[in-house]
């Protein structure tokens, strides 16, 4: 067993730092703010590393700390579950977070919201740790929502910018759509398993499947486990920016670059992947859900890659790349190669964070300019950034021996190995073609930034310089990660081991033997270190880089020609497949219109005017006027009324008998 105090300290340190800086930031100097937060996160990273080594040694932890909610059979404890899956996430989160903290010291220097920013990112670290360390779905959900909140706050960090505020709101609401699904899934879990606890739930899955419960709705039927998994996956789609809930992720680039690196690339957006992997004991039992995961992942991987091809904003290119890469991870989950997904998650965290931070360094240098068309020839001025970004780009493109190669290749092979029918074939095509596109857009961006012609605005030019140490050091640390984690993962941790139980992940992931792609791979035969030479992805990546070299390094007028030649397609892709417009037309405006209609026509016209004023008040007023009119003031009318009264009652009684 692991030491629970130590485990508690890992999330608690960033939390305390965040609260202290958040509440008393106004009284603290900049230096104190960043020292407190950075120190706590680094400490937490060190502790995570310590825990990691212990886990490698076979230790684990499972326990509850207090009861959050309790009502009869509805029991929600707050507890932790530390196993191989958790600990690798903890490590990734804390390490990347530490780098980002340090980087931020330089990047956000002088910003009026300096200490607020540190408070946020420390708070984020805490939330993310809760998310990964929890031992039940509600602890997960707590972290899940908390990271969403911090993401919202950070996207809207520069609250004076209208676009930032809008992007923040969009991010939150789109995420809430996902959360809706997640919540429904959690409710279904409680309904069928009577618990929220991972262990209890997972232990009961086979029984439920055997029982064959199914749900009916409007004549539509599905098995309970499929319902649960699909609902949970909707949550994952929201958080991890999968089509069609991906629209918030590129917009989230409105936030400061460090958080783009930390939240919208390395950690938070991968929470969905983590969750699916965590729930592998459930997903494994639902072919439908797996197919859906594969399909959505593949569509996202391919579609976002196409959008990435033409973006001109440096951060947006990387953002679409992130979507695309998350798609890879989901495809991996869908084909039951969970270990590959987590592996790619880890490598991606390092190189994508690096890519963002390097981009941030560039942006910093060109005075907050993000448009690729206004950069170029920055290689000389920023050597460290140049090198580190090159490493990241190569890693992303999947060039051996950089980290991305190892994980991506494993995924593609797994997809190829898994028989899933049409969906599987589509996925294989998608991930393969996306490799080419990834390489192309990555290097397009790279060349446009550092090579090509010098298009930097005249007044910015004197400002261009290499970033300070505090920025470059995290870049270098991450570059090491981007270089080595892939090889380390395969060789050191034995992640690709098809016998999951024997590999690094041990029992933390679950795959049915019936569809274990890695097993299939293993059966197909051993590969040597050189086997990449014979695989398609490698060559696709190389050709992508080559095309980018051709178009943006050599023949720099080619892109414009190409764009003109394929105008409709180009415009379509440039406008991001018109997703935003689609949502505006089909969801946002109709909802607003419906709201206004219900208000004006329903509440005001029908209920207030019609029913209340017209019906009841109108009736009362009509009665009032009638009564008033009867009181004419003439004595003979009064007398007549009396006589009528006598007459009517008497006649009534006479007739009644």
């Amino acid at each position: 067993m692991l030491n629970s105090t130590e485990l508690l300290a890992i999330p608690a340190l960033p939390l305390i730092a965040s609260l202290v800086v958040g509440l008393f930031g106004w009284a603290l100097k900049e230096k104190l703010s960043h020292t407190i937060t950075s120190a706590s996160v680094i400490l937490s990273a060190l502790l995570s590393a310590h825990v990691f080594t212990q886990v490698l040694g076979g230790a684990s932890f499972y326990g509850n700390f207090w009861t959050w909610m309790l009502s009869d059979t509805f029991v929600v404890p707050v507890g932790m579950m530390i196993d191989q899956l958790t600990v690798i996430m903890m490590l990734t989160v804390t390490v990347v977070s530490s780098c980002v903290h340090i980087y931020t010291i330089g990047y956000m220097h002088g910003d009026p919201g300096y200490s607020r920013f540190f408070s946020y990112i420390s708070g984020f670290t805490f939330s993310m740790l809760v998310l990964v360390m929890g031992n039940n779905f509600f602890t997960l959900f707590f972290g899940w929502e908390a990271v969403g909140l911090v993401s919202y706050l950070l996207i809207g960090f520069w609250f004076k910018r209208e676009s930032a505020n809008f992007a923040a709101m969009k991010a939150f609401i789109v995420n809430r759509v996902g959360d809706f699904g997640f919540l429904v899934g959690v409710l279904a879990i409680w309904y069928y398993f009577g618990s929220f606890d991972y262990r209890d739930v997972f232990a009961q899955v086979p029984a439920l499947v055997a029982q064959g419960d199914s749900l009916h709705f409007l004549g539509w039927e599905m098995s309970a486990i499929t319902f649960i998994c699909l609902s949970l996956f909707v949550g994952a789609m929201g958080k991890s920016g999968q089509v069609p809930l991906h629209v918030w992720l590129p917009d989230s680039m409105e936030g400061p670059t460090p958080i783009s690196a930390l939240i919208h690339a390395a950690t938070m957006v991968t929470a969905g992947v983590f969750m699916v992997a965590r729930c592998s004991p459930m997903f494994e039992y639902s072919e439908t859900a797996l197919a859906a995961v594969v399909f959505v992942g593949a569509v996202t991987a391919w579609m976002c890659a196409t959008i990435g091809l033409v973006q001109t904003d440096i951060k947006r290119v990387i953002a679409y790349s992130t979507c695309s890469q998350l798609g890879y991870m989901f495809v991996a989950c869908g084909v039951s190669a969970y270990s590959a997904a987590i592996f790619h998650l880890m490598t991606h965290a390092y190189f994508k964070a690096l890519l963002f931070l390097a981009a941030g360094s560039v942006i910093h240098a060109v005075m907050a300019e993000q448009d690729l068309r206004k950069m170029g020839q920055l290689r000389k001025a920023m050597p460290v950034t140049y090198i580190t970004m090159l490493i990241a780009a190569l890693a992303l493109s999947g060039v051996p021996p950089f980290a991305g190669f190892w994980s991506k290749d494993l995924i593609i092979e797994a997809v190829g190995a898994r028989e899933m029918g049409l969906v599987g074939d589509f996925a294989y095509f998608a991930v393969l073609s996306a490799v080419f596109m990834t390489a192309f857009y990555t290097f397009r961006m790279f060349f446009l930034t550092f090579h090509n012609s010098d298009r930097v605005a005249a007044k910015t030019k004197p400002h261009v310089h290499e970033s300070p140490k505090v920025i470059t050091i995290p870049l270098m640390i991450l570059a090491v990660g981007a270089l080595l984690t892939g090889a380390w993962g395969v060789m050191g941790l034995d992640i690709a081991n098809p016998e999951i139980a024997n590999g690094y992940f041990g029992s933390s992931l679950f795959v049915l033997d019936a569809h274990n792609p890695l097993m299939t791979l293993a059966e197909e035969g051993e590969h040597g270190w050189y086997h990449f030479v014979f695989t398609a992805p490698f060559w696709l990546a190389i050709s992508g880089i080559g095309l980018a070299y051709a178009m943006y390094f050599r023949e720099t007028d080619m892109p414009a020609k190409l764009a003109a030649a394929s105008k409709p397609v180009y415009t379509f892709i440039l406008n991001k497949w018109y997703w935003d417009e689609l949502y505006a037309k089909t969801v946002m405006y109709p909802a607003q219109g419906l709201g206004r209609w219900l208000w004006q026509k329903g509440d005001l016209a029908m209920i207030d005017k019609g029913l209340i004023h017209g019906g009841i008040v109108g009736g009362v007023l009509a009665g009032m006027n009638r009564m008033r009119a009867m009181q004419t003031g003439y004595v003979y009318h009064y007398a007549f009324a009396m006589i009528i009264g006598v007459f009517a009652t008497l006649t009534y009684l006479v007739l009644k008998g």
């Binding site: 009564m627 004595v635 009318h637 006598v646 009652t649 009684l653």
Partner: protein, 484 residues
């Protein structure tokens, strides 16, 4: 027939009546000897008369029915209780008159007429016989006719009196015609004998009995403003001097309701089904007229007139219930109504704007800012009239509704409750003027200690009865011992 032995009649139960009659005459004569500035002493004397009469009635209140004057007069707890209410209503009305009437011609006559009217009511509530009832009603009616028209130089006062008089006479005619038929069927004017006679009249006399019943009920309904015999009420209330309006709004209603109950209980028990049917419809009509027409009013006296009609509609639920709870409910209701209504009139009389007696709703604007005390009291009366709890008015409604539901008149009770919601609107509209609006013209309130005390006492009574109505309800239930 042999020469009858003239025995001295039993007169002891009439001591309060005799006292009041004597005092009324004393005031009538004594007033002539008072200088103009001392005429207010007539008023004090009249109040004293009410108080003493109250003591007399209270000390004499019997535990069972006592008859006097050869059975033409009955004193039972029911009558005693009603008399106490009548004294209170009259005394309060006199208090309101002290300042209002002091410059009019015939102050002494005014107070004396009030006392005579009160005497009429006392006789009404004690009558076991149509003769006594008729004479009592007429005594009361003549006094009120004159009082309504008392401001003889004010057009609306005389007009009100004229209308009231014409319609009142018509009602008297109708009542008498009915009595004559009942007499024809039964050969007696005595309630008990008439009741017995009706019960035995059989089918051959049914039509005559029904005619008599309808006409008698119509005649009495006029006195208590049951629609459609209510038409005089708004005009008379508006035209009459305000204290007279106050006087008319409670005491005669008590007398009318009491005699109505007596007639129903003693004379028409065998016609229960018929009169309940009639009253049900009349009650709905009355509530509708009272509560709906009141909304349209800008003059508070007129509004309160319609409000009275509306309340009579509610009170009728107790009569329709026709059991001890219902009749007790009528007494409870009228007791509480006495306080809240007289209180409201007291505030109206106290209020003067720019030297003009305020009667329009607009005149109340901003009262709360100038005189929070009166505003609070008025607010309490109005909420109480609307029937909101912790104020007495709620219990008034409660008891009659309860009686109605107990006897199965569920739909009637629901109708009544819905009308009470409509009614709440015009009461709270006055609260709106008092509390929400700004003052426009300066107030100069009447300075009169007795009237201020009236406001205080009635306000406290309204709250007190709202918080602890138990004893009142018990007393009213006990007061019914004599008749049911």
């Amino acid at each position: 027939m042999n020469p009858v032995n003239i025995n001295m009649p039993v007169i002891a139960p009439l001591i309060p009546e005799m006292f009041v009659a004597v005092m009324a005459m004393v005031i009538l004569i004594g007033d002539l000897f008072l200088a103009k500035e001392h005429k207010v002493w007539s008023g004090y004397l009249a109040i004293l008369t009410c108080v003493v009469a109250g003591f007399l009635t209270f000390s004499m209140s019997p535990s069972h029915a006592v008859t006097a004057f050869y059975g033409l007069f009955v004193l039972d707890p029911f009558a005693s209780y009603a008399k106490l209410l009548i004294y209170a209503g009259t005394a309060l009305a006199i208090i309101l008159s002290l300042d209002y009437i002091k410059d009019e011609f015939g102050v002494g006559e005014y107070y004396s007429l009030m006392l005579f009217g009160m005497l009429g009511m006392m006789i009404i509530v004690s009558s076991p016989n149509f003769v006594t009832m008729y004479l009592g009603l007429e005594l009361m009616a003549l006094c009120t006719y004159v009082l309504v028209g008392f401001q003889r130089d004010v057009l609306r006062s005389s007009e009100a009196a004229l209308k009231y008089f014409i319609l009142g006479s018509l009602a008297t005619g109708i009542l008498l015609y009915g009595i004559s038929f009942l007499y024809g069927v039964t050969g007696s004017f005595d309630f008990a004998s008439v009741g017995a006679g009706i019960a035995h009249s059989g089918s051959s006399g049914r039509l005559a009995v029904l005619l008599g019943m309808v006409l008698v009920i119509a005649g009495l309904a006029f006195k208590v403003s049951i629609a459609p015999f209510h038409m005089w009420t708004p005009d008379a209330y508006e035209g009459a001097p305000t204290p007279v309006t106050a006087y008319m709004s409670v005491a005669p209603k008590v007398a009318g309701l009491v005699i109505l109950i007596r007639v129903l209980v003693d004379v028409m028990p065998s016609l229960h089904v018929e009169y309940v049917t009639i009253f049900t419809w009349l009650a709905v009509l009355t509530m509708a007229v009272g509560n709906l027409a009141a909304i349209a009013q800008r003059n508070i006296k007129r509004m309160l007139a319609y409000s009275t009609i509306g309340h009579v509609g509610f009170v009728m639920l107790g009569i329709i219930a026709g059991n001890a709870d219902g009749y007790a409910g009528v007494l409870v209701y009228m007791t509480i109504y006495l306080f809240m209504n007289m209180g409201a009139f007291a505030v109206i009389v106290l209020m003067r704007r720019d030297g003009i007696q305020g009667e329009l709703l607009d005149d109340f604007a901003g009262l709360s800012k100038v005189h929070p005390g009166y505003a609070l009291a008025m607010g309490l009366y109005l909420f109480s009239l609307a029937g909101i709890p912790f104020l007495g008015g709620f219990w008034g409604k409660y008891v009659v509704f309860m009686a109605a539901i107990e006897t199965g008149h569920l739909y009637l009770a629901i109708t009544a409750l819905l009308f009470s919601v409509v009614g709440a609107f015009y009461y709270i509209r006055v609260v709106k003027y008092i509390y929400f609006d700004d003052t426009r013209v300066e107030f100069n309130f009447v300075e009169n200690r007795l009237m201020q005390a009236t406001v205080a006492v009635t306000a406290i009574a309204v709250v007190g009865l709202g918080l602890y109505p138990g004893p009142l309800i018990n007393i009213c239930k006990a007061a019914l011992g004599g008749i049911i």
